[in-house]
Symmetry: C4
């Protein structure tokens, strides 16, 4: 995801060694390090979740706290080591994973002052994205990149679509407020907009639903609209992905046919040998 | 969206100047004007929403009214200036944005007589579509056009699909009325049609849901139908978008045809060699 | 939809004239006939719906009945005339629209004996499909055919998909019955299967929802499955539609490039003139 | 699905005969056997379902038990015969259908000790997948394979997508827990994650729904996200399917490559001229 592989270690020997373990996964200790990290991330996420369940927290509060301190200390040491052993420290600190690594420890220290912030520790999960490399996951990385790229390339069109959808929802919501304003769930325009989005995205909680015949008629139109225009983001991303695949096609140097499959040895139109 | 850039100013000097500020965004005052407009639109939308929340309206009713009058006066002056400074006044008044500009002030004056119409002020949001130009948003405009074009080109197919779906929902709804007519939520055919649309579009509020085994069985069939045929609008729009990846088209330097495929070597209209 | 245009009239003169009015829309009386028919269909559908609403039926029962008898008599005469004036009577009676025409009058006569069957009159709506031709709706017919063909061509794949989905839902439902069997809404396997379909199709009424942690965990997996595999019918239909569009491409007789647009005058690869 | 047709019978004559009936459908007894099997599977599935409905079980418990024993005995004999008549017994036992056949009888014997496991008999339904061959269902098999292949080829991308979605849901759920933690349905992080998945997949049961304005605002964002990113799995599968329209491929008469595009004039592997 990030060009973390461009990072260079400091020149001191122990820093170079530590760097290799922490940043690379091409050695046994490096792989072991990543596996331990993965385990700690999963454990930590699990603990934060369990802590939020009052039944478990009542019984196991102290154990939870101990494990949390333990993991946070390790992550803090790791974070410091990452900075210390790197030559381009600043690049790391402000890189995607640098920020994630920092966010993975910050909430704990913050929670000493503002307890509720503890739950931000869940952001540690994002560190999992890095640990992909320990498995022979080059293909996975490529597929992930494929998805991210397709979404990035479609993002502008999707933003515009969402903006249209928001304006549409605001207008429909206001209309509904005028129609059903006296009923529960439509007491205000923001509330009615909430209903409009719930409906147009086909989520349909049902905590708010129309009561009058006219309201139901408008709802039906809104549902049909939502059911149809989901085609827009889908079409955008599909066209983008299909296009990405197009890069796999080979051009023929003789007849110029650009539609040869990736594994073609000869042009399908003129039988020219392809590289 | 609209060919507003074709509009021409009156020949009087001050009108030309005002025209440039109001209609164009290529000067500093023009950009400032657009930014202020954007701010006023957002503020106005926000006020209308807040006014509908009884808690806030109780406390801040007077402030809301003052801001609303203030913004409406500005929008009214602006609307008059637009008409006055334009040479082709009629073209503007009946253009897409001309109508929007009018609808942005009308509800206020109307609400002096019929209070509920005040909420139509939310239509002011549509003015936002114009303000796009203040940012360097040519790409955004193109992407917006791309989506609108794809929807326009697919619209006939989608109408037909929706007509099929409506007929289908009416028939299924009537069937369900016969099956579950004695239960709450299925008391009449229109009510049962409402349920059928809620189900087939996968919205599923749950305010109406089948109670008898036979009703549940029919619902299951309807859900599976809805889950499958969402493929139809999606397929239509995707095929359309795939076809119209405008950024992949090559323009012909001779005949100006801008619709040549990305891999074309010769213009398909005049056979001119393309780069 | 149907090859109704292959029908031939009887040789008697008045039959030929009546045939032209009833079956064709290329004369003034023919168009008027179709318009009246459309109006009667819509009116009849509307009446059947209103009749099911007890408030209206209480007030207007007699009027409803009179209109219904009136329309049914007209439809019956029309049906008889269609048979009488046609040379190939049998072909018509068993054609798609022949059956529809019959079903449009049958429920009324049936309802004299079994009242509830009256609501099948709603099937009259299907007659609307024929009336398309009165508008200059060749394009609409083509688009309708495009959708129907794409669905027909995909139908086998979609059936298989739905069969997989059904088997999957039955198994998941049974599993859920074992997990949540003691809770309301999961009292039996059929009931749990109903829940599974409601969930996997993302309808989500909420009339049945999991209560235990394990049940919720299984639900989450089922939802994610449903959210992902909706891609299957969508992919099938999209590929089919994209393919249909492919028929619009022109082949080059010289270089064999088969990817020229429908409106191309010259091959985009070799500049050969195309027909 | 499985290369069951590679199985070879033992050399004893009666085993060869039985093998042919059980494993093949090319003889009259073979077809009859498959039809009986299909009937027994459907009957058995139906019985298991009905048994779970307490009303029917109360009345018909004994009949259910008898039928169940009867079918299980037949299936057990059949399973033993399959093993006995086959030369490569081990390959069968660990093949897909071998495992299914075993799972179709195991729960019954298990339920003698642990009653609840009886419902796993529903797994018998999976045996239906085999019975496809009795109909002239080569096309169906191909279409099934098409779907399975497309899903298999997309599976890695879809896994990654689901992992992103899970991490996203965990983070959003935790955020929501902090925002709405005091309200019913958001009492713990796991519970809030459940809500997040219900929302992002657009299922929307409504058993848990946001109560505070901020919670509703976050929900709206989550719904819009869910509504947009459903495009990702759809795009992945569609691109895959488009790529694999197997019925459009041409076989090469020389090298046997069956992967040539529909419009290919020469085999892409050996340059043989294609019709």
């Amino acid at each position: 995801m990030e060009r973390e592989h461009d990072f260079l270690p400091e020149r001191t020997k122990w820093k170079r060694l530590v760097f290799r373990v922490i940043f690379k996964a091409d050695t046994k200790p490096g792989k072991a390090f990543d596996l331990i990290l993965l385990f700690l991330i999963l454990l930590s996420t699990f603990i934060v979740m369990m802590e939020s369940v009052s039944v478990y927290d009542a019984k196991l509060h102290h154990i939870f706290i101990v494990i949390e301190i333990f993991i946070t200390v390790i992550f803090t040491i790791e974070y410091i080591l990452r900075i210390v052993t790197l030559r381009n420290k600043k690049a790391y600190i402000f890189s995607f994973f640098g920020v994630i690594d920092f966010l993975a420890i910050l909430p704990f220290y913050l929670s000493l002052f503002i307890p509720i912030t503890k739950y931000f520790l869940i952001l540690r999960m994002l560190r999992m994205l890095r640990v992909f490399r320990i498995f022979n996951l080059l293909d996975f990385m490529n597929d992930g990149k494929f998805i991210v790229t397709a979404l990035k390339n479609s993002s502008r069109k999707i933003y515009i679509f969402l903006m249209f959808l928001m304006i549409f929802s605001v207008i429909v919501g206001s209309l509904m407020f005028m129609v059903e304003g006296h009923r529960e769930g439509f007491e205000s325009i923001p509330q009615s907009i909430y209903w409009a989005v719930v409906t147009v995205t086909t989520v349909g909680y049902g905590d708010v639903s129309p009561g009058t015949p006219l309201g139901k008629f408008l709802s039906v139109l809104l549902m049909l609209a939502g059911y149809s225009i989901i085609a827009v983001p889908t079409g955008i991303v599909t066209a983008e992905m299909r296009n990405k695949r197009q890069d796999l096609y080979k051009s023929c140097p003789r007849c110029g046919n650009s539609d040869n499959d990736d594994d073609a040895r000869f042009c399908k139109i003129c039988a020219e040998k392809l590289k």
